[in-house]
Amino acid sequence: MTAAPTWDIAARRTLHRRGASFELDVAFRSSASRIVLFGPSGAGKTQTLRMISGTADPDRGHIAIGGRALFDSTRSIRLTPQQRNLGYVYQDYALFPHLTVRQNIAFSRVSGWRNPPRDARDDVVERWLATLGLEPVAHAYPEQLSGGQRQRTALARALAAEPVALLLDEPFAALDQRLRARLRDDLVALQATLDLPMLLITHDDDDVAALAQEVVYVEHGRVVAELGQLA
């Protein structure tokens, strides 16, 4: 039996930006566990990520991860973002400002109408607080955190939901140069430990060098090249 590719994506969507329309037509198949969508800003990378996560819909196409169809316009499949179970780390992290670090990380661990209490104890949450060195700031609010702490909180929040894959939108863009190098290494180590497929978008060459097993180059809404790992 041949395994389905980890990433099987073909998504078309017409976007309207300030009166002009923009054709997004991104397609790639890959079984790389760390794949980087690389391209200039405005190329449609974030929109692609949103379509994969289900917070935006393609006009047509299909999206499957690990052989599981998340969206397929010909078969009328459209899983909600809630059903897709993908971790999403936003460029500016989108941490809930009214919740502490611990509450943010525990957010997906309770499904009712109430947010996790401030002193919530949950083994998964505690493990991520410890793994990512966030214990000292567990009771802090996002606005009180440094850039690196925010990024790790966003990562922990996504991972605590035990996703089947991780999507990251420019996860290092908001950080200074030295911190970036360290957090890149941490992310690679983490990804290897968890064996979690990861798709990251960036316009930074250093991210590609440090993180990519495979690079998908996107320009003007289209894939212009796909490169497997050279090293």
């Binding site: 996560s53 999403y88 936003y90 009214h98 957010f107 109408w113 109430r114 609010y141 996504a158 939901a161």
Partner: protein, 224 residues
């Protein structure tokens, strides 16, 4: 002066119920308008804002046509439940709710629009259902603006006169709110009563505004 206290109690009851109705209706519709596009949205938005600019007597007249015993809603209520709404305190609640509705609707809509949709998307990717994320993310982040609108609506309901008079009349102890009692007292030349009622109304309004000032900047999203 017992009558004045009765009028005050009635006024607070009417304004309280009207605000409660607007809490549910204004927040639900304000959220829908901030996040969804649908045909007729602009027209509906204009209609929902109308009570802010239309004379209350005109609103009262519309309401009277609707809930009067020959009106479509009034006739239905009378036939099926034997309820006569006109000239009851419940009619006064309806009048106050309609007149003050745009204040909650507009405030709630603006408050929800100021919440970055990315927070809601983040909650979705974390597996949280639509209603739960509304309660856990959207509402806490918009709460401050909604509360400001609710307090304004409460204050506006306290002073409601025109529409209330049209549909609820001025029955002492039953539908005669403070503002209507003031008018009646002046018309009847009862200066003492009028003076007391005016002083009482002013104190209540100042108290509401002070409470508003205390409540609104207090709970800021993101801080303990």
């Amino acid at each position: 002066m017992d009558a004045a206290w009765v009028a005050l109690k009635l006024t607070l009851k009417v304004a309280g119920w009207a605000t409660l109705i607007n809490l549910v209706a204004g927040v639900a519709l304000g959220h829908a308008f901030s996040r969804r596009r649908f045909p007729g949205r602009d027209l509906l938005d204009a209609i929902f804002t109308l009570p802010m600019v239309m004379p209350p007597t005109v609103l009262g007249y519309y309401l009277l046509v609707l809930i009067g015993s020959r009106g479509p809603l009034g006739a239905w209520l009378l036939d099926h439940f034997g309820i006569r709404l006109v000239f009851t305190w419940q009619a006064a609640v309806l009048a106050a709710a309609i007149v003050s509705f745009p204040l909650v609707f507009k405030a709630a809509r603006a408050a929800f629009e100021s919440v970055d949709p990315q927070y809601e998307d983040a909650a979705r990717t974390l597996g949280i259902g639509e209603f739960a994320l509304f309660v856990r993310v959207s509402l806490p982040l918009a709460w401050r603006g909604i509360l400001a609108g609710l307090l304004l609506a409460f204050a506006r309901s306290l002073g409601e006169f025109g529409a209330t008079l049209m549909v609820a009349g001025s029955i002492a102890g039953k539908t005669q709110t403070l503002s209507i009692a003031v008018y009646e007292a002046v018309q009847a030349g009862q200066d003492d009563t009028a003076n007391f009622l005016v002083a009482l109304t002013s104190i209540v309004c100042i108290a509401v505004l002070l409470a508003a000032g205390r409540l609104v900047p207090g709970r800021v999203a993101g801080r303990a």
